[in-house]
Symmetry: C2
Subunit: 414 residues, 2 copies
Amino acid sequence: MLKIAVMGHGVVGSGVLEVFYKNRAAMERKAGTEMDIKYVLDLRDFPGLPYSDKFIKDFELIANDPEIRVVVEVMGGLDPAFSYVKRCLEAGKSVVTSNKELVAAKGAELLRVANEHDVNFFFEASVGGGIPIIRPLHACLVANQIDEIAGILNGTTNFILTKMIREGMSFDDALALAQQLGYAERNPAADVEGFDACRKICILASLAFGRHVYPEEVHTEGITQLTLEDVEYARAWGGVIKLIGRAKRLPSGKVEAMVSPALVGNDSQLASVDDVFNAVLVRGDATGDVVFYGKGAGKLPTASAVVADVVDAVKAQHSSTSLRWEDNPAHDTVQGYFDNEVRMYVRISYDNFDKAMRAVVDLFGGVKPLYRSGSEDEMAFITGVCTEREMTQRLDALAARGIPVLGKIRVLDY
Amino acid sequence: MLKIAVMGHGVVGSGVLEVFYKNRAAMERKAGTEMDIKYVLDLRDFPGLPYSDKFIKDFELIANDPEIRVVVEVMGGLDPAFSYVKRCLEAGKSVVTSNKELVAAKGAELLRVANEHDVNFFFEASVGGGIPIIRPLHACLVANQIDEIAGILNGTTNFILTKMIREGMSFDDALALAQQLGYAERNPAADVEGFDACRKICILASLAFGRHVYPEEVHTEGITQLTLEDVEYARAWGGVIKLIGRAKRLPSGKVEAMVSPALVGNDSQLASVDDVFNAVLVRGDATGDVVFYGKGAGKLPTASAVVADVVDAVKAQHSSTSLRWEDNPAHDTVQGYFDNEVRMYVRISYDNFDKAMRAVVDLFGGVKPLYRSGSEDEMAFITGVCTEREMTQRLDALAARGIPVLGKIRVLDY
């Protein structure tokens, strides 16, 4: 009988236990062996559960128990998750995790350690919750060059944006509602500032391009500056605002990567992804665009991805799969973002329309103005394409000519 | 060096050769072994290709060559593909196919033969072209019960419908354009009558529900009866018409399965799938709704799926994976379609509006009428839910009361 340890009994951890015991027979059939969970590691007590006797507080019991072949890490955070996971791999145990922070910061190192010890480090649940994305992306790579990935990777911000777009709710009200519904944390920074989406695009980009992309390399903007006026202009333009994490292979060998709000046209497959749903668009040279869509978070979707990884880890025992990428200690996989090409939605206010339009045309050439109802001292427009550096210079010049810039959002073409 | 044979050098077959030689180094790295294509079986001659020396016309060379470990079947059709594939499996060779007709008609049998001989029968490319769907669905099954699958499974019909919806092109003109662009065959019946979509939903349903669903069991309607008037009423209702293949687990243990045109609301993830794209929605009890989207056909997308399967077959040598389902020689997996529950869009013409409305209300209860511009002697409405049997009776009764039914389309809620 193969034995498993689960480290962490929070939302995902308790879901893993639930899904495991519900589907145990089917899992054993697929894995070709009987299996059971031997330990659940958590500092808290959970009396009255059918598996309360499995709880332990000492990690050493797991590390030193040769019977444990697969360890599930669902504690979250880097410390002590990183040292625990590394020690398990070094002890010849495969590890399955849903911890995106861990994979984004330490993926290359942990994959190398796993490979050196002929075990596996799997992390399907770290991106897109229950949406199968890591494994299909890895399979796609066999016969494709992945050129680009773009996704709605954070359900909380997508819920907030959906409320702003569909119901005209303000950012603050939508955030409060998300908190009330349990979609957002009390401290929502990791979601609304884009850090969570950043970790996820780092994981996808590392896998797709074969070299670790670190979160520190990726310019990241959140959604806290967005207003209902922006939403209205986006509608006038024919699109919606989404928080998009994206990464693109450049001819130089570097990667363009960024997380930011973006206008996407209504006919984009990403435009219709609403509420807490996620979607990942993968652009391969043979497959063309493939999109994976589903619930990006939640107890049971995430737990089901973890449990599927456990079965794969059991099946792949005694061999390390080809799932890995190179480390890049220099942290220079990503091109400096000022060199990225960009097209921008810009919202300005003015006293004198003719003077404002002259300044805009001088700096940006011919543009199509966008209007919203009931407003006479402001407008918006979509620029042509230039580098981020030039864009910043032009926007600064606009302000210098007495035209205040009220808002700006990148325009993407997916 | 592991040797491969490719049977069939049509569009997909030549794509397989192209993708294989382009990605050979990466494939060998992933597979952990060197490999090459030894034979290409085709009755035609292809002089002047870099691999022209590999062509053979005699299948026996493949069947009797112990060096051949993996065989790619991309001939299409049942005869001789079925007997060739079966003999390869019996000879201990794994087989990869893109042939949906073969898998839909003989999948259970071929999977059993593969299992008996410790080899594999893989068919990722048979559904959704380059979209990874078979393997993710199989992985989903580890920790999920799949309750329902619905998809836009045929790119040709979706292209035609998109032209009707977006450009007001008639069915005949859109079909002619699809033929001109190479999306539709000279004889378009397999596409426009829904047979192709039927085979694909059979494959997905068999995998999801564990028992073979035969195409003969699945009530199948094509798109040849659809008119631009239907498209206009669908718009008035707030949706679009798509050709949907679907299958649903019933409490009785049977499966509800059908291919038909359907109205789906504009906020459905399936509504925005346009042109030759496909999408498959999978409803799992833990994951919720997951959607896979991409190009459902085409030389390189399909070939890349075949090639990824080849690598998996090489990696899984000497063991048969858990990918399989039970046969059902009685062909009664699917519930008789008259027992299905249905909601219908109905289009009628009338001489006397009040008389028509009285008949409609008598037979269907309160309904919301739909109108289209410029028409005064017809209308449409959406019924409540009843069985297909009752629906047929009510529509017959409507006609008997002198109200001609000009069109009817099922309304789905995805």
